[in-house]
C-alpha cells in the first residue's frame, strides 16, 4: 500500500518539503533522536496548528473547540491564532454539524470535525457513512470528501456504558473510509497530518487516556512536513516467538506484556496497527510467518471486531505458518459497567495478554474452568 503524500500548498517559511519524493516508510530507529518528549495532546495540537497554517482551506468545527480551548484541550490556542471563521464552536448537534462539514468538504474545503467522544458520532453516523464514505464512488470520482472526523474513542475511566464504546470495528468495515488509530505522540502527529492532507474521509480515533502521556519524538517528527503513511503498521518491538497486534492504548499494554513475557523466555513481536482501514495485512502476515503464533488485542467488543478480521486474514494468507490457534483479547461482551472492579474486568489487562500469548506458545496450564 503506497502512502503517497504530496503537499499541494505553498509552504510558508518552511523550506524544502522532503515529502515530494513519495513514500515515507517509518522505522523510528532510523530517525535521529531529538532528545525531546511530547505528550499526545501537544502532538495533536501542533499537527492541527501546522496543517491550518499550511492550508487556509483547513478549518476545525466541533463542541467547545474554540473559546473553551477544546474539551480535552487538543485545540488549545487555535481560535486565538486562526480566528472564529476557522475554529467554529458548534451547538450540541452532531448530526447537523457533521452534515455541514461533509457539505463543506464536497465544495472543496478541508474540515476537521471533532466529536467530543466517538460515542456522539453515532448521532452523525449517517453522514459519515452515507454522505462521506460513499460519495466518491457514487459520483464516479466527481465528489471527493477530504474530511477528518476526530476525537477520543473507546473506554476512559468510570464513564459508564454510553461513553465507553470503541468504534474501530464499525468504521473499519466501511469501504470509502480510512480509519486511523494513533498510539504514540509521533503516531498522533504523523497520522493526523496525513489524515488532514488525505483527499478521502478519515476517521481518526484518539484515546482520552493517552492524551496526557509523554513519548520521545524524533527530530524528523518535529518538522512541520512530517507525515506518516496511511495503511502501514509499525513494528514497535521485534520478536520471534509470538506476534501481538494492537492499536491505540492497547499498544502500551502489549509492550508491557512483551516485557513480562521476555522474562519467561518468550520473545513477542508487537505490532502497532496505526491504520485500521486500510489494514496492513502484509506486515501482519509477514510477522506471523516469522513467529507462527498470533494474539490480537483490542478494547472493543469481540464479535465482528478488529481481531476477528485479522484472524481471518491470517488464516487466509498464512494458514500453513500457524502453529497454534489465533488468540483474541478484547473488551468483555457486556455494556461497560461503572463499578471499578467490574470495569476492570470489562477491559483487557496486561495479564490477559500475557496469558493468551503463553497459551499460543503452549506454555500455560490447562484452560480455567467456566466462570
Amino acid at each position: 500500500m503506497l502512502g503517497v503524500l504530496r503537499r499541494k500548498v505553498a509552504c510558508k517559511a518552511n523550506g524544502v518539503s522532503a515529502l515530494g519524493q513519495g513514500i515515507r516508510v517509518v522505522a523510528s530507529r532510523a530517525f535521529s533522536s531529538s532528545g525531546k518528549e511530547m505528550t499526545v495532546r501537544e502532538a495533536l495540537n501542533s499537527a492541527l496548528d501546522e496543517e491550518m497554517s499550511a492550508d487556509p482551506k483547513v478549518f476545525i468545527m466541533g463542541e467547545e473547540v474554540g473559546e473553551y480551548q477544546g474539551a480535552y484541550k487538543i485545540s488549545k490556542g487555535l481560535l486565538e491564532k486562526y480566528g472564529p471563521e476557522r475554529v467554529l464552536d458548534t451547538p450540541i448537534t452532531e448530526a447537523g454539524f457533521a452534515g455541514i462539514g461533509v457539505g463543506a468538504a464536497y465544495y472543496g474545503l478541508r474540515p476537521v470535525i471533532e466529536f467530543m467522544t466517538f460515542n456522539f458520532s453515532m448521532q452523525a453516523i449517517d453522514h459519515i457513512i452515507n454522505s462521506a464514505a460513499k460519495s466518491n464512488y457514487m459520483s464516479a470520482g466527481q465528489i471527493s470528501v477530504p474530511i477528518v472526523f476526530r476525537g477520543p474513542n473507546g473506554a476512559a475511566a468510570g464513564v459508564g456504558a454510553q461513553h465507553s464504546q470503541c468504534y474501530a470495528a464499525w468504521y473499519g468495515s466501511c469501504p470509502g473510509l480510512k480509519v486511523l488509530a494513533p498510539y504514540s505522540s509521533e503516531d498522533a502527529r504523523g497520522l493526523l497530518k496525513a489524515a488532514i492532507r488525505d483527499p478521502d474521509p478519515v476517521v481518526f480515533l484518539e484515546n482520552e487516556l493517552l492524551y496526557g502521556e509523554s513519548f520521545p519524538v524524533s527530530a524528523e517528527a518535529l518538522d512541520s512536513s512530517f507525515c506518516l503513511p496511511i495503511g502501514k503498521a509499525k513494528i514497535e518491538r521485534e520478536g520471534k516467538d509470538v506476534t501481538i497486534t494492537a492499536f491505540s492504548k492497547m499498544v502500551g499494554y502489549a509492550l508491557q506484556a512483551a516485557e513480562i513475557l521476555a522474562k519467561d523466555g518468550i520473545s513477542a513481536e508487537v505490532i502497532n496497527l496505526r491504520s485500521i482501514r486500510p489494514l496492513d495485512r502484509s506486515t501482519i502476515n509477514a510477522s506471523v510467518r516469522k513467529t507462527n503464533r498470533l494474539v490480537t488485542v483490542e478494547e472493543g467488543f469481540p464479535q465482528h471486531g478488529v481481531g476477528a478480521e485479522i484472524c481471518a486474514s491470517v488464516l487466509e494468507d498464512s494458514f500453513e505458518y500457524l502453529d497454534a490457534a489465533v488468540e483474541r483479547i478484547a473488551g468483555a461482551d457486556v455494556p461497560m459497567p461503572y463499578a471499578a472492579n467490574l470495569e476492570r474486568m470489562a477491559v483487557p489487562q496486561v495479564e490477559d495478554i500475557v496469558r493468551a500469548a503463553k497459551r499460543a506458545c503452549y506454555r500455560s496450564t490447562p484452560l480455567a474452568a467456566t466462570a
Binding site: E64, P91, P302, A339, N341
Partner: protein
Amino acid sequence: MAQIIHRSTNLLKPVSVAVSATRHLTTASTTPITVETSLPFTGHNIEPPSRSVETTPQELLSFFRDMVLMRRMEIAADSLYKAKLIRGFCHLYDGQEAVAVGMEAAITKKDCIITAYRDHCIFLGRGGTLMDAFAELMGRKDGCSKGKGGSMHFYKKESGFYGGHGIVGAQVPLGIGLAFAQKYCKDENVTFSMYGDGAANQGQLFEALNMAALWDLPAILVCENNHYGMGTAEWRAAKSPSYYKRGDYVPGLKVDGMDAFAVKQACKFAKEHALKNGPIILEMDTYRYHGHSMSDPGSTYRTRDEISGVRQERDPIERIRKLILSHDLATEKELKDTEKEMRKEVDDVIAKAKESPLPDSSELFTNVYVKGFGVEAFGADRKELRAVLP
C-alpha cells in the same frame, strides 16, 4: 383541601401574628396559604396561569427540607469526587433544586419523568433514597443501579423515573415515547421530558415534538435553561434562545425556575393542558452553581460575579426561607436546625454507603438481556472468563 388542625393554643396561624415560641415544625398544618410567584409567566400561543399559587405551611416546610437535602447531597458529592470515591463524570444540580421540588409537588408518581445526566436531585424527588444515590455514585452494590450505571444512570421505574441519560437530547424522544405509551394505555397521566438549553437545539427533539403534536400526546417538554451548554452560553448556541417559543405551533410557558411555586404552578397547568390538548413546552429559567461537571471549573466562560449574584438574588432555598420566615412558620434557628439535621443525615448515609461492598464479579454478566437463551458471553480473555446468559 383546607383543613384546620385544632391543636393546642400553639396553632400555626397563616398570618403575621406573633405566635408562641413552641411551634411544632414537624406537624405543620395544611391551612391554605396563597403565595405570589416572583415573576409573571410569559406565554407563547397560550394564556399563562395566574401568579397566585395555593400552598400550605406543610408544603412550604417540606420544600425547604427537600431542597436543603438536595443541596447538601450535591455538595457532598463534590467532596467525594475530589476524594476520588466518585469516578468518571459527575454533573451537579445545586442551584436548580426548585425545578425538581416544584415539579414533584404538582404531579404523582404515576406521571413519568425522564431527564439527562444531571439527575441526582430528580431521582431524590421521585422517591430515591440518599443511600441509593451515594452507593451508586461510588459504584457499590447497594446503588440504585447496583453500581453498574454510575452518576448519569439513576433510575426508579416504580415511581415513574426513567433515568438518567448520557447522550444529549436522546431523552426527549424517549420521554415522548413514554407519553405515547401512556396515551396508548389510556392512563390519564403525563410525561415530563427534561433537557437543557444545550440539548434544545437537537434535531431529534423537533422530530419527536412534531409527532407528539400530530398525535396529541400527553408530553410536557421541560427545558431547564441554566444558560450554558457545557462552556457555551445560550446566545452562542441558539439563534433564538427563547426556548419556550421554539415549539412554534406547540404552546409554551416561560417560568422562573428558581421559584419552586412558579414551577409547581406551571407543571400543574401543563399537566392539565397536556391531558386535553397535547404537548406543551415549559422553559425553566434556572442556574447551576457548579460547572458543567466536576471536570469543568465553571469559571472560564462566566464570571464569579455572575455566579455570586445569582446566589444572592435568586437562590431557591433562600426564597423559601424568606417565605417561611415572613409567614412565621418557623424561626431562623429552627430552619438552621433543619439544615444541620439534613447535613447530618447526608453524612450518616455517606458513611454507610462507604461500607457498602463493590458488586460481585458475577454481576459483570447479569442484565445484558432479559432473556439470554443460554448464549455465551465472554470476558476480556474469552478462554479464561465466560458466562452463560440465562
